[in-house]
């Protein structure tokens, strides 16, 4: 098999996976099959949304991040975190304490992603004024959504906003700022603290740019545990507490549902959750809805507060950030400036994204004639399957099995109902039937000894 060109960050731990098929049924792109008693993710179809991770009963699905120690490959180690990170901590923990501990554990600079939101926001408004763009513009913020569009809604690739994400713009800003302070570029390592798998995939195989500006990605969940335990141990060094520069309210709320939609021009909609987004993109593709200027789509409900690597409940994260906004409003006037305005021209010139290329993965064959042949065969098979989508064959639906069969990835006898017919006709015996079931579910499950 050739190595897949598209990296995805969600992985299955074969040791712990019990092949229960919960993930297979939860996957919105039908990218998962169960085979040999283990779930398998199809690299080409997976968009890294994380729905499978949410439903796994044994935590067998993990996110492949970079090791924390990678930061020490660089002399200047920059942590770039999204505002949801601060939202993980209980209310009595101050942002400045988090900053201090982050330095204590090894980062030399600690910055917030949302710093770049204002400049992106005004660039989006300028972009909207451009008359020859496809409407609605679909936000480029959530990498799982970009991948979903490439794979499932390829006719909408031109609708994607061709401007970078706040994390990339913030990375450009801080990198350039350090370079201007006389630091050599190869001594700077920028590490993004991620609330999700999709952002890791976006760094390892970026869309619309050659190479990501970020050098590594660190799991927010792990880092939060580490930082919080240091805070509890009292390892906060007041002498190295930098005065955190304050963000605007709308910057802090940008990654949440409506955060972006409420700040752009025209008729806007904010849609969160994979199922909701898919339902809506389907309508946009058919032009069943019209007159919408801007679509904010996020794979997670409540936006990044719902990212799979958050420790805290999504609603509590939103509440905490809202409180932070209120506190900011009370101490107006004491704002420490980040100096990003000085870089605005540089950033505006560098935030343009290239083309988003469709990579439709639904086709049965790249040759249309053959694809039609396969589709007819698949339809013939499908009408003979029971249509109850039981999943016992290791595929998420009868239709998926029929397509797997014509693609040569499965056989009709994977269906337990077909097996029964074959057995009653004497075409296969009990042993063969068991052997097939073993092949799908693994002998452990079949013999009743899962663990």
């Amino acid at each position: 098999m050739t190595k897949s060109f598209f990296y995805h960050a969600l992985k299955i731990n074969e040791e712990t996976c019990i092949g229960c098929s919960h993930c297979m049924n939860a996957c919105p792109t039908e990218a998962i099959r169960v085979w040999n008693g283990k779930a398998i993710i199809d690299d080409d179809q997976c968009v890294d949304c994380g729905e499978c991770e949410r439903v796994c009963p044994v935590n067998a699905i993990y996110v492949e991040d970079d090791s924390f120690d990678d930061i020490f490959n660089f002399k200047y180690r920059i942590a770039l975190f999204p505002s949801v990170f601060i939202g993980q901590f209980p209310e009595d923990v101050k942002a400045s304490q988090v900053y201090s501990v982050m330095r204590h554990i090894g980062f030399t600079h600690v910055y917030e992603v949302e710093r770049a939101v204002e400049i992106l926001n005004s660039s989006i408004i300028k972009y909207q004024a451009n008359s020859d763009i496809e409407l609605p513009i679909i936000s480029s913020f959530c990498p799982a959504i970009i991948r979903l569009i490439q794979v499932k809604y390829p006719s909408l690739v031109d609708n994607v906003l061709k401007l970078s994400t706040p994390s990339d713009i913030a990375a450009m800003f801080y990198k350039q700022k350090l370079i201007d302070e006389g630091i050599s570029e190869d001594e700077i390592g920028i590490f993004y603290i991620t609330p999700c798998a999709a952002k890791i995939a976006a760094v390892r195989s970026p869309v619309g740019e050659e190479k990501s500006i970020v050098d590594g990605v660190i799991n927010l969940n792990n880092l939060h545990n580490r930082v919080y335990s240091e805070i509890k141990k009292g390892n906060v060094d007041n002498s190295i507490i930098p005065e955190p520069t304050e963000l605007y309210d709308f910057e802090l709320m940008w990654s949440f549902t409506r955060g972006e939609a409420s700040r752009v021009k025209g008729r806007t909609l904010a849609i969160d959750g994979m199922k909701n987004v898919m339902e809506f993109l389907e309508m946009v593709e058919n032009e069943e809805v019209s007159g919408i200027d801007y679509l904010e789509c996020r794979a997670c409900k409540e936006g990044c507060a719902g990212g799979i690597l958050n420790n805290e409940n999504r609603f509590l994260i939103v509440e905490r950030l809202q409180k932070r906004v209120e506190r900011n409003n009370q101490k107006k006037g004491k704002v420490v400036l980040s100096g990003i305005e000085k870089y605005s021209e540089y950033l505006v010139n560098n935030m343009q994204l290239g083309e988003v290329v469709p990579r439709s993965m639904m086709m049965l064959d790249s040759d249309m004639e053959t694809a039609m042949q396969k589709m007819k065969e698949a339809q013939k098979i499908e009408v003979r399957l029971p249509g109850i989508d039981c999943g016992a064959c290791g595929a998420p639906s009868c239709r998926a099995l029929s397509e797997d069969i014509v693609k040569g990835n499965a056989t009709q006898s994977h269906c337990v109902f077909v097996q029964k017919v074959l057995m009653s006709r004497g075409e296969i015996n009990m042993e063969t039937a068991f052997a097939i079931i073993d092949k799908i579910w693994g002998d452990k499950i079949v013999k009743g000894s899962k663990k």
Binding site: P154, S155, E285, N286, E288, S360, M363, M368, A371, M372
Partner: protein
Amino acid sequence: MMKLDYKIEGGDFTNAGHASSEVKKVLKKLNVDPKITRRVVVSLYEAEVNVVAHAYRGEIFVEISTNKIIIKLVDEGPGIHNVDQAMEEGYSTASEEVRQMGFGAGMGLANINKNTDELNIYSEVNKGTTVEMITYLDKN
């Protein structure tokens, strides 16, 4: 070559769009260019809604081959008095009820015309209408 067919009921707005969604799935699986797929689906959706909004019942016949897609919608209904006029942007006889569903801007046929390579409309007043839309796959 592949043939698909679907039935439409007049007034059934809940299911308007079913055929276009199904056809879209098929074209994606056949690796038809996404831009062409979109044009086909958009035209079919408009034509489907026209049967739901203006006629009593109808049937959709889709023929897909490697060089073209032919879609024919045959309906029983009031027919169109003046096809040229119906094609004009903004011309609509949609009832109040249909307008309340958000349709009736008089843009449908113009939109279909824009999105298909060939559009043929045959209509007989008090009998029905046949809309034939052809999209070629081998050009550009």
